[in-house]
């Protein structure tokens, strides 16, 4: 029975209901959402330090970035990071361990979609506070953003695919709970990779050449660094479309991995006695 709904796409009606449901439950958590937003400070800390570094450097710039450029880059990274937040690994880990996954399996709907649309709905709740905070920070730091409307459109597409990629990746990590005692320690490692190679510490061009070469083959620079550069008006259309292509490839790969893990994991879960 489980097999039949493994990779079923979700219907539009279901999607709308899930999104509305997610929105309703997320608005109840708006205080928490603001706190989560504020606790993701890495990009802002790095912004402040790089700005101070630039102001002390000869010529007021480092590697072609002056203080305002750093502010634009890191604020954009912060925005992108906010759009890519995914906590599904923790939820899956909990559900598998506590057995609350079982009732979900009885529904004619892949639980993936419930999580996915809840995450999307949370973005909508996040949006107004996010815009407010970015406007405030931009005013304080003198950051400037792209003036080309097309950049914003591509940014949205990239962020959407990037989020889907991150979501699937975290989903796979969470599914590891079928086999391991706890998958959440791995989730921390995920975050480190994502933050380091995504460009939270500096624009990717600042990294050692070896790290840059490795990063190019991973999805991370295209999930965070590239959309951020688009917002800051520092990425070309060619770069963006190449990034989108790589990212789409990774997303498909993780979609297949997720489907395979889900199938073999459920078989194991059933065997344990759920």
């Amino acid at each position: 029975m489980a097999r039949s709904r493994l990779v079923t796409p979700v219907s539009l009606v279901k999607a709308r209901v899930l999104l509305a449901n997610g929105f309703a439950s997320m608005t109840a958590y708006r205080a928490e959402i603001i706190i989560w937003m504020l606790s993701g400070t890495l990009a802002l800390v790095m912004m402040l330090i790089w700005m101070a570094q630039a102001s002390r450097a000869a010529g007021g710039e480092i590697g072609g970035y002056n203080g305002q450029d750093f502010a634009s880059y890191f604020l954009s990274v912060w925005v992108t990071g906010q759009l890519l937040v995914a906590w599904v690994a923790w939820e899956l880990d909990f559900q598998i361990r506590q057995g609350t996954l079982s009732p979900q399996l009885l529904r004619p709907l892949d639980p993936l979609w419930v999580h996915y649309f809840h995450h999307l709905a949370e973005r909508i709740v996040r949006l107004p506070f996010m815009v407010l905070l970015v406007a405030l920070f931009a005013w304080l730091t003198g950051a400037h953003f792209s003036s080309n409307p097309l950049d914003y459109l591509i940014f949205l597409v990239l962020a959407m695919v990037g989020f889907t990629m991150r979501f699937l990746w975290e989903y796979c990590t969470g599914l590891l709970a079928f086999w391991m005692e706890s998958s959440t320690a791995l989730s921390e490692l995920n975050w480190l990779l994502y933050a380091a190679l995504g460009g939270f510490f500096a624009p990717l061009s600042f990294y050692p050449p070896l790290v840059q070469d490795i990063a190019r083959w991973t999805p991370f620079p295209y999930m965070v660094g590239l959309p951020a550069q688009l917002l800051a008006g520092k990425a070309t259309l060619a770069q963006a479309s190449w990034g989108l292509l790589v990212l789409a490839g990774w997303t498909v790969a993780f979609w297949l991995l997720r489907a395979w893990m889900w199938r073999s994991g459920l078989r194991r879960y059933g065997a344990v006695g759920a």
Partner: protein
């Protein structure tokens, strides 16, 4: 006092045997400690590779390494001692098990603060110590007095961190959930990764006097490098003492207004 030591031993044995059940977790936790420090070092080295052997707000690489070492150590203290204990306070109040703790003939604040240790995260502490030793070996003219003073100041810093966490967790007597408040603490604490001097001037002031993150990592590191101002050196133990007393008073106040879950 003897009784407290004996109880500590029992607590430790209990958490150790519970922790050893999950061996794969230990490997994963160790990996994430190593990953954590690798990322911190990468972040740090970016500043030095670009500006041509330059400085980070006047700090040389080994000096800034000291800060990273103290940061990892403080992080280890939080995840080994604070998080497993203090995050349980809210749950204990909600489910009513806090009553049992209060009935026991040992100090309740002490008991809720030491009952559980997350030994899985001991890796953070080890990595922190390793970074500190590495930094000390690269620095010239380190004096034993400076190192001892720095150890003392770091102890004060841990006391302050404990007190702040404890006060945040004590709010659970009125609020239902506190995990999010501690999340916010982590966000702010991330700024301790780098020497305060690396930030723009107004932010430096804020990190020293408004949210005194500077005292946790920068001040102990300054004691080693000999650049510590006497004012900050004297202020550190004072702040620690005040915060600790504050946490004690706040706990008493919370208990006085606690009506328990069952009665």
């Amino acid at each position: 006092m003897r009784r407290y030591l004996r109880v500590t031993r029992v607590f430790l044995a209990a958490t150790l045997s519970a922790g050893l059940e999950y061996r794969i977790n230990f490997v994963a936790a160790l990996l994430s400690s190593l990953g954590n420090s690798a990322v911190a070092l990468l972040g740090l080295s970016l500043f030095y590779s670009r500006s041509g052997g330059g400085t980070l707000g006047g700090w040389s690489y080994p000096q800034a390494l000291l800060v990273v070492g103290f940061f990892m150590l403080a992080q280890g203290f939080i995840s080994v001692v604070l998080q497993p204990n203090l995050n349980k306070i809210a749950e204990a109040i909600r489910t009513g098990t806090m009553d049992f703790t209060l009935l026991k003939p040992i100090d309740a604040q002490w008991s809720v603060s030491t009952r559980n240790l997350n030994l899985l995260r001991l890796g953070d502490v080890l990595v922190g110590v390793a970074i500190l030793i590495w930094a000390l070996l690269q620095l010239d003219g380190v004096r034993l007095g400076g190192v001892l003073l720095s150890a003392l100041l770091f102890f004060c810093a841990l006391m302050s961190v404990y007190s702040v966490w404890f006060m945040l967790s004590t709010t659970a007597f009125w609020l239902v959930k506190t995990e999010n408040i501690t999340e916010l603490f982590n966000g702010v604490f991330g700024a301790a990764r780098f020497p305060v001097a690396a930030f723009p001037a107004p932010v430096q002031l804020a990190l020293t006097f408004v949210i005194p993150v500077a005292f946790v990592t920068t001040v102990p590191a300054q004691a080693v490098t000999g650049s510590l101002s006497p004012t900050l050196g004297l202020l550190a133990p004072l702040i620690a003492l005040l915060l600790f007393l504050g946490s004690r008073l706040f706990w008493r106040h919370a208990l006085a207004s606690y009506t328990s879950a069952s009665s």
